[in-house]
Symmetry: C2
Subunit: 314 residues, 2 copies
C-alpha cells in the first residue's frame, strides 16, 4: 500500500484558518492585531517573490504588515524596499525603531543583504522577543534548553514538527534520524524532537557528511527527516517499511514550461527518491508541496505567538 501523503499545502490551509480565527478573536477582545515588519534592502528578484508571498499571507490572516522604504513598483504599493546603498548604521537604526515600536510583534530581515553590511550584526540587533525567524542566539539557546523556555522555534523545523503531529505519527519513543546538520533545519529539529513533551520525546540520531554508514541509521528510523540538499540521496532500501519520511530538500534539477503560466520554471526534486520511497514508507512528504509551504505558515504562527506572549495569553 503506498504511503499516506503529508501535504504542506493542505496543512497550511488548516493552520492559516486557525490563525485567522484567533487573530479576529484577539482583535475583538484586545483591540490589536499582530504587526509584522519585513525589511527588504534592494530588489533581488528571488527576495521579492518570497517577500510578496509573505505579505499576501500576512494580509490574508489579518496581520498588520509593514515594510520600510519606497514602493518597488506601482502595481503593488505595499511592497517596499530600502535603498541598496543604505549604510549599516541606518539599517541598524531602522531595526532599533521597530524594536521600540509597540505595534510591532515580529521583525524579519530578508537575506541576502548587500555585501557592505554585516548580516550577523544586523540579525543580532533584532529584539529576541520579536525575532519570529528564531535565529537569534538567544532563541537558539532557548530552543535547546526546551520546555517553557522556548519562545520561537525556527520556521522550517517548527513546520516539520507540526506536520508529523498533524499526521498523527507517534513521536514519543520513536527513532528519529535527521540527515544533515545545518543551523536552519538539521540541528534545530534534532534538538526539538529529543525534548520532553508532546510532539517530541524521541530518540534522536543526527547523521551528516562524516557519518560512516548513513544507510544503516536511516534503516532504523521510524521518522526520517532529510535535509541534506542532495537530490535522491536517500535510496528506497534505506527506508524502514511504514516509516514517516519528511523530505526537506528542494533541489533545482532542471527547467520546464509551467502548464499554468507558460513560463519557464525550475524542476524541483527532494533529497528522497519519492516514487520508490512512497511504496515503502507509511507517510511521506512530496517535493514540492510538502515542507515548503510550512515555512511562511509557521512565520505567521510565530508572529501571532509573539503578540500572545505580550498580552500574557500564550
Amino acid at each position: 500500500m503506498p504511503a499516506k501523503l503529508i501535504l504542506g499545502t493542505e496543512i497550511r490551509e488548516q493552520i492559516l484558518e486557525e490563525i485567522t480565527k484567533e487573530v479576529a478573536e484577539i482583535k475583538g477582545k484586545h483591540g490589536v492585531v499582530p504587526g509584522l515588519v519585513t525589511i527588504l534592502v534592494g530588489a533581488n528578484p528571488a527576495s521579492i517573490s518570497y517577500v510578496t508571498l509573505k505579505i499576501q499571507t500576512a494580509h490574508r490572516v489579518g496581520f498588520k504588515e509593514m515594510m520600510p522604504g519606497k514602493p518597488i513598483n506601482e502595481s503593488n504599493p505595499d511592497l517596499k524596499s530600502l535603498p541598496v546603498d543604505i549604510s549599516e548604521a541606518d539599517l541598524l537604526a531602522t531595526i532599533d525603531n521597530y524594536n521600540k515600536d509597540d505595534s510591532v510583534n515580529g521583525i524579519l530581515v530578508q537575506l541576502p543583504l548587500p555585501k557592505h553590511i554585516d548580516e550577523k550584526k544586523v540579525l543580532n540587533a533584532i529584539d529576541p522577543d520579536k525575532d519570529v525567524d528564531g535565529f537569534h542566539p538567544v532563541n537558539v539557546g532557548r530552543l535547546m534548553i526546551g520546555g517553557s523556555e522556548v519562545k520561537f522555534a525556527p520556521c522550517t523545523p517548527a513546520g516539520i514538527q507540526e506536520m508529523i503531529v498533524r499526521a498523527g505519527v507517534e513521536t514519543s519513543g520513536a527513532e528519529v534520524v535527521v540527515v544533515g546538520r545545518s543551523n536552519i533545519v538539521g540541528k534545530p529539529i534534532a534538538n526539538m524532537m529529543l525534548q520532553k513533551g508532546p510532539g517530541a520525546n524521541s530518540t534522536v540520531t543526527i547523521v551528516h557528511t562524516r557519518t560512516k554508514d548513513m544507510a544503516s541509521h536511516c534503516k532504523r528510523a521510524d521518522i526520517l527527516i532529510v535535509a541534506a540538499g542532495v537530490p535522491d540521496l536517500v535510496k528506497p532500501e534505506w527506508i524502514k517499511p511504514g516509516a514517516c519520511v519528511i523530505d526537506v530538500g528542494v533541489n533545482r534539477v532542471g527547467e520546464k514550461v509551467s502548464e499554468k503560466t507558460g513560463k519557464k520554471i525550475a524542476i524541483l526534486k527532494g533529497d528522497v527518491n519519492f516514487d520508490a520511497a512512497k511504496e515503502i514508507a507509511g507517510y511521506i512528504t512530496p517535493v514540492p508541496g510538502g515542507v515548503g509551504p510550512m515555512t511562511i505558515t509557521m512565520l505567521m504562527k510565530n508572529t501571532l505567538k509573539s503578540l500572545k506572549f505580550k498580552l500574557g495569553i500564550a
Copy 2:
C-alpha cells in the same frame, strides 16, 4: 586487556599547568590576569566546599579571585558570602557592577540561591561575555550554532570533550551515544560532538528515559557518554569492545570512613558498572577521579578564554 583509564585527576594537572603558564605570559605581555568573581549567598555547606576548591584552583593558576560580602570564618578570609536575606534587587545590582568592571572576566553565581530569589533572572543578568559557566541562553545558542560563534562551552561537557581528545580517541565519523538529555551535560555534549571541526564531527545519538531499546544504541557506540544519574545503569554487555566510555554519573550509594581523614564520606558510584566495563572498553573514566575534576578545570580555562577574547588573542 583491561581498558586504558582516562584520569581527570591527571588531565586536570596538565591543563592547570598550561593555564598557569599562559596566565604568566599574558601578565608579562599585557600586565593583566584573569579576574573571576564568585557570588555566594548564605552558607550552604556543600556550596562552601565547592567554592573553596574553586578559590584554591583560581589562586593556583594566578587568577585574581573575588567574592563579594563578608568572610564566613576567620581562618579563610578570602571565602566571603552575601547575607542570606539579600534582596533580589541588591543581588542584581551586585552582578551589574561586576558586568561593568573591566577587571572581571568571569562571574559565577553559586547555586542554589535562597527561595525568595528568582535563579533564572539572576543567571540571565550575567553579561554573556562573562558567563564562564556557559549556561546563559545566548551561550547555549552559540554552542548549538557552533564554529566561531562559540564563546564558552559549559564546563562539564567541555571537560568531557577535552578528555576524549587528550586520550587520543578519534571522534570524526565515530558513533557517539549520549545517555541522558540534561541541560547541564547531555544536550550540550551531544551538540558539541556533532559539530564540524576537530574533536567533533561525530555521528551522535541521544537516548533517554523514553528510549525504547537503550541497550542496542549503547552497543553501537564507539564513544559512550553516560550522564543519567542512575548507578550501574549501563551493563557490561551494552559496551562495544574497545569503546571509549565516559561516565559522568556521581551517585551517592552509601557512606564509609575516609582512610585519610577518619571522617565519614560518601561512597560514590558512576552510571556504569566500572569493574565489569573496564574489561571490555578500550578507554574508561573511573568514578571518582574521572570527569569530576574536569569541571572546575574547564571553568578556569573559560575564564582565561574570556580575558583572551577581550585582549583579541583568543
